[in-house]
Symmetry: C2
Subunit: 111 residues, 2 copies
């Protein structure tokens, strides 16, 4: 399940992770769920959004670049990143972005 | 169909559009296809990525914020934006971001 993140007034950071999975991606689902749970507990975590069809897109939002960099160094996350590179992803890109402006419909409660 | 965008060395811009569609979203598919086609012809357009499950995520990449702002003012796009607000989307957020860093696996040809 994914919903639209409720983020504060910019600036803050977004990390866009786009990937194409290998057909054989054993353990991927369990570990993604665990990574979302673990990321949510990190200082400076603001929210996460994801969707997958032909490609997968996951965007995590952070108070600062430093908050994201700390998460990247988390031990359990380092192991998952390594498995991603070696086993799960045929291809991926990660883009670290500063969110400068945000707008849209009125913020609602998560469904 | 969506593939992973091949973007240049940062900095450049990313516009993250996340949405939840209404059940009744007549005309949405045809007009989205047309908008991708039209966006691709704009000066400064770098690529687009999208996926949808519970939520839809579309990220368009631009050489500069000005290139994206020009696209936002395109007449046919203005009409589509209006239909999005009035008919298609139950909820949406748009985030304008400066991409500062990018990394990942070797860039491959589009599949």
């Amino acid at each position: 399940m994914s919903s639209i993140a409720k983020t504060p007034k910019p600036p803050y950071y977004a990390v866009i992770f786009t990937s194409i999975k290998n057909k054989d991606a054993d353990g991927y689902n369990e570990i993604s769920v665990r990574m979302v749970e673990l990321a949510s507990q990190q200082p400076g975590f603001l929210g996460i959004e994801s969707a997958r069809n032909e490609i997968g897109i996951t965007i995590s939002y952070w108070e600062s670049e430093a908050a994201f960099m700390n998460w990247k160094k988390n031990t359990e996350h380092l192991i998952a990143q390594q498995m991603g590179k070696e086993k799960w992803y045929q291809y991926f890109r990660e883009r670290v972005c500063k969110v400068e402006r945000e707008y849209g419909t009125e913020k609602k409660e998560k469904k």
